[in-house]
């Protein structure tokens, strides 16, 4: 049989696998009884329901008429990698990773890092990246640190606190 909706097939599989994983995980916890439910009861029920729904959704995806609008299409790797990358670099620069010995560089460096990586997601232009990161760094410093009083390590570890 042909596949009518690629989206539904993959979505159905995703739901089934996730549901099954939650249900299997729930077996680690005490089930209890209906009258005195343990921590495993509700997640097990939900996991089973999700797995069944996933199978139903996957079955709906078979059919002769292919729906082009429900094709999955190309994955936008570039924005995906660089947007998520910008987020990760921000965390890495802001807080460091003490477990592997990467020191914290603080908010300002993190903002510059985030802006440069994020801009790679679309046409990159060094001039624009410099201007924007400067605006964002100064703006965030005043808004988040000075005005809202959020606690951040602002400067790298080697600039004395």
């Amino acid at each position: 049989m042909a596949i009518k909706s690629q989206q539904n097939l993959v979505a159905g599989l995703m739901f089934s696998v996730t549901g099954a994983a939650f249900a299997l995980g729930a077996r680690e916890y005490d089930m209890g009884t209906a009258g005195r439910m343990g921590p495993g009861y509700f997640p097990l029920v939900l996991g089973v329901i999700l797995a069944v729904l996933g199978i139903l959704i996957a079955f709906q995806s078979f059919g002769s008429q292919r729906r082009e609008s429900e094709d999955i299409g190309d994955i936008a790797w570039r924005p995906l990698c660089f947007i998520i990358g910008a987020n990760l670099i921000f965390g890495l620069l802001l807080g460091g990773l003490p477990s592997v010995g990467i020191p914290a560089m603080g908010l300002i460096v993190a903002i510059v890092g985030l802006t440069f990586v994020a801009m790679l997601a679309s046409e990159f232009c060094i001039k624009r990246a410099v201007i924007l990161s400067a605006i964002l760094a100064v703006g965030s410093y005043f808004v988040f640190v000075k005005m809202l009083g959020l606690t951040f390590q602002v400067w790298p570890w080697f600039v004395g606190a």
Partner: protein, 504 residues
Amino acid sequence: MMDLINHLSLGFGVAFTAQNLLYALIGCLLGTLIGVLPGLGPVTTIAMLLPATYALPPIAALIMLAGIYYGAQYGGSTTAILVNLPGEASSVVTALDGYQMAKKGRAGPALAAAGIGSFFAGSVGTLVLAAFAVPLTEVAFMFGPAEYFSLMVLGLIGAVVLASGSLLKAIAMIILGLLFGMVGTDVNSGVARYSFDIPELTDGLGFIVIAMGVFGYGEIIVNLSRPEESRELNTKKVSGLMPTAADFKAMTPAILRGTALGSSLGILPGGGALLSSFAAYTIEKKTRLKPGELPFGQGNIRGVAAPEAANNAGSQTSFIPLLTLGIPPNAVMALMVGAMTIHNIQPGPQVMTSNPELFWGLIASMWIGNLMLVILNLPLVGVWIKLLSVPYRWMFPAIVLFCAVGVYSTNNNTFDIWTTGLFGVVGYLFVKLGCEPAPLLLGLILGPMMEENLRRSMLLSRGDWSVFVTRPISAGLLAAAVVLLLIVLSPSVKKKREEAFVED
């Protein structure tokens, strides 16, 4: 009646302090701003700003966040009319006739119709909210755990039935959200569930983390993967704001209909601004055209006034289930629950008695906010239009930054940043697979509440499942949920529903 007046005067007393007026103004301005900018919705904005409200008193924080929500409806309609770009999903239908009016040089009356309609509907919505709050709260106190559980089932079913897209997938997204809500320490037994021995996960998956990842990053990635839309700026001077007498005659009944419809649909679970505006436009289209009136889709002023009135009324009254029952009817309200819990307020019927200033102050501030929006919006139209010409490639790094800062400052912990990155990927996956993410957020918030009420009702009934159908209120709520499902699944409605969401 006397009570209502007393309550409202208490509320206005709270809302009219300089500080609260200021935050209402900030909220309205921010809301309009995000309403104008396409690709940035109220869910993302409210999630981004939640951490920034830590330092504020609770009432100021809620006033500001509420302002963002209804401000977005105003902003969304402005760009829908002037540039045919609905900034908000609820303004999609406004663009149909509004843009046609603008093209014929009648942008002024269209904007005025939207503004007047919104303001009138907002005022009525606020009054409905104030009037319904007390009796509904009394009902809420009669609710036991079984009733709460059934109400949540109804709410979740309502949320998917009224949403667009595949019903099965929407239900699956809710269940997934409920399961995500299970992560963390179980309050009854103290067992850390699905935490994989990671200490940060024993506190559960933060809804800010999921909202930012799925809505914030997910949206940015999708926006960037599309070629930048060409924005046809209607720079013709907006002249002559006032509608003609004929316009007034045409739009008054439309505004009244839109208001009535929006106020009632807003209360429903899953309702709110989006559904109200679609329904109002559909109804206007069904009414007969008067002689000399332009057909819909060619610049009929009723096609602007009715949906705008409806979406604003709906966004006001969707606060009713939140404030009286503590149950969020849509994703924005789910975030408001988060905002309240951050400030140690348990949403529910007790808010009105334990925090009357907060309760009535919030309601009063909504009316003030609506007034501000009408006054501000028309003269500021030019500024908003200028903002639209800022290209997205300048904007998105700032949005990424705000998301990251917002996530980090919730707990001052980089762990949240890593999980947000993960949910960003998941969010993009959802979009690719055609899964609407809003029900997930609703499930996430309701998950722990639902489990708790299920457990308690089963404990009280000694393990007898029939408790949900033998208690009359609970049975009624469940029956309503079943009826809703049956209606949607019936072939004729199913077809209509698909058409409605495709056509408009």
